[in-house]
């Protein structure tokens, strides 16, 4: 069982907010993704049962959205926005610097499983570019030094 009793209770409470069960699916997927750093096959099966849909219907949702993955991610997700306003202010250089700093390419995870580095589309922080999202926190107005320090502090 990937979905614990507590998580199941939270999912049930979420389901109660919607006229159809399935409205709570994205919330449930977020919680599983946060715990497991991915949506493992077992969770797909369990969620399918909870929401009374087919496993493939869970999978098509998982693969559609950026924030869910079938492959396990690192403990921390670091996403540098590389959309236009951020690129205009050096976001892509920043990402390259961070790739070098971590010794991985964007899209990869550090060998110790600590950080998955990637780019992301516009995060709504255009005036404070360049910036990155680390898990659920935005770090704005970054320079390379600051960014490196933030990454180093992640466990």
């Amino acid at each position: 069982m990937v979905i614990s009793a507590e998580l199941r209770a939270r999912i049930d409470a979420e389901i109660a907010k919607y006229p159809q069960k399935r409205g709570a699916l994205l919330a449930a997927l977020h919680w599983v993704q946060r715990e497991q750093k991915c949506i493992p096959a077992e969770a797909v099966q369990e969620l399918a049962e909870i929401f009374e849909i087919r496993p493939i219907e869970v999978l098509e949702v998982v693969t559609f959205y950026n924030m869910f993955s079938t492959e396990k991610q690192g403990r921390h997700e670091v996403r540098v926005c590389t959309n236009l306003p951020c690129s205009l202010r050096g976001a892509r250089q920043l990402l390259k610097e961070l790739e070098q700093h971590l010794g991985i390419e964007a899209g990869e995870t550090t060998p110790d499983g600590r950080i998955t580095l990637g780019h992301e589309e516009c995060l709504g922080a255009c005036a404070w570019a360049p910036m990155m999202r680390v898990d659920e926190t935005y770090h704005e107005n970054l320079d390379v030094e600051q960014a490196r320090r933030i990454l180093d502090a992640l466990e």
Partner: protein, 431 residues
């Protein structure tokens, strides 16, 4: 993020005060008074008429008359009706809704309650983009305060009118900002926009009549109810009344948010307010309304920021996301960033969009790296033309327009890549 825009007006004048995000702080500034008046002194139809006569247009990019949209909801209570607050803000260059969520959540909720009263909706789903975890948490706190205070719930403000507000988080897909793509995502499915007809007012969230409005749109409503349609029309232009919150980014000295009346000139926003480009640089081009809107060259910044004027320049207000590019910028690289975005975010249903966004990106890349021809420029325009006006939703149009805009005003950049086989702007941002 800034606590308040550099220029504020009625929407944001109090956002600098942390307390404004709390129930007490909001009430202290007259908050929730408008909702009380609407629910106790006005009929739903009167509210709709008021909003219609104010001329408020949607602030999510489409600019449709809000009052008219509300009037499409069926009368009668034989089935549940829903409101959706579109907080999916993902249009590149836009970050105004984020400010409203983080700094003025009660203002949004008050607009929602008034809208609910006007349309007979029993529940509002606030669809917040997945990456806005913090703004969603702030809004949830405000919702909880409202429930505790009896402002929301089984008897809103003690009137017997029931309304609930639920936050649903998105999960990273720009297309979920499209009205019916949002509805699909709300229902726990892939965010693939629906064929229309049927329209959401007939068949919306979970099959029930639904109206979708943007965060900022809801935020204007309490002010209209409090101070009237005439007052609202005192801001902006005749066809585009009210203020909006412009977000300025890119090569300017003071990027940030600016709440200004619609119709403020673009050059005033870029130069007076945002301070113009950095020392020694000149403005080359400005995208006026978020990345879906065609770019304007520096020579055309004298345009008032309202749709009736922007349309004449073959662009639109969109979400007011003003992106400034100075003269170091290579517009072909800008094209690569833009076409990559649309290729990545296409939901993939319609042939023109799925294949067209891919083709445009591949063409743009090939031209950027110096392997393009002059025929490729015509080909890009032709492909963009084949994408327009023929798809389930407007995403394909949004993907086509920027390419048309870039070629309309910056063909020299493209021709330079073709002729010289490389980028002629050594200082331009890298890809």
């Amino acid at each position: 993020m800034q606590k308040a825009p550099y220029v504020t007006s009625y929407l944001t004048e109090h956002t600098g005060d942390d307390a404004f995000a709390t129930l007490d702080g909001y009430r202290a500034r007259g908050g929730w008074e408008a909702a009380r008046r609407a629910l106790t002194e006005m009929s739903p139809d009167q509210v709709i008429e008021l909003v219609k006569s104010s001329g408020l247009q949607g602030r999510g990019g489409a600019g449709f008359s809000t009052g008219l949209k509300w009037s499409f909801m069926p009368k009668g209570a034989d089935k549940p009706k829903y409101l959706v607050c579109n907080a999916d803000e993902s249009e590149p260059g836009s970050f105004k809704d984020r400010l409203l969520l983080e700094r003025a959540p009660h203002q949004i909720l008050e607009g929602i309650l008034i809208g609910a009263w006007a349309t007979g909706a029993e529940k509002t789903f606030v669809y917040v983009r997945g990456e806005y975890a913090y703004p969603a948490a702030v809004l949830q706190r405000a919702i909880d305060e409202c429930y505790q205070a009896g402002i929301l719930g089984p008897s809103c403000l003690g009137t017997g009118f029931r309304h609930d507000v639920v936050i649903t988080r998105g999960a990273g897909a720009y297309i979920c900002g499209e009205e019916t793509g949002l509805l699909e995502s709300l229902e726990g499915k892939k965010g693939q926009p629906r064929k229309k007809p049927p329209f959401p007012a007939q068949f919306g969230a979970f099959g029930m009549p639904t109206t979708v409005n943007n965060v900022e749109t809801f935020s204007h409503v309490p002010h209209i109810v409090r101070k009237g349609a005439e007052w609202f029309r005192g801001f902006g232009t005749e066809k585009s009344p009210g203020t909006t919150i412009f977000g300025v980014s890119g090569h300017v000295r003071r990027p940030g948010l600016y709440e200004l009346p619609l119709g403020t000139r673009l050059d005033e926003i870029v130069f007076q307010h945002a301070g113009g480009p950095p020392e020694g640089r000149k403005v080359k081009g400005v995208i006026p309304g978020g990345m879906s809107m065609p770019i304007l060259p520096a020579s055309q910044l004298d345009v008032p920021m309202a749709n009736e004027f922007l349309r004449e320049r073959k662009t639109m207000l969109g979400t007011g996301g003003v992106m400034v590019m100075d003269d170091t910028t290579c517009m072909v690289r800008v094209g690569c960033v833009i076409t990559y975005f649309f290729r990545d975010e296409s939901c993939g249903q319609c042939t023109q969009c799925r294949e067209g966004t891919g083709w445009l990106h591949k063409l743009m890349q090939r031209i950027e790296r110096g392997a393009g021809t002059l025929e490729d420029l015509e080909l890009m325009l032709d492909v963009a033309g084949k994408m327009e006006g023929q798809t389930i939703c407007a995403f394909a149009d949004a993907a086509a327009w920027p390419v048309q805009g870039l070629l309309r005003h910056f063909r020299e950049d493209f021709e330079a890549h073709v002729k010289h086989g490389k980028c002629p702007f050594p200082e331009s941002f890298e890809l």
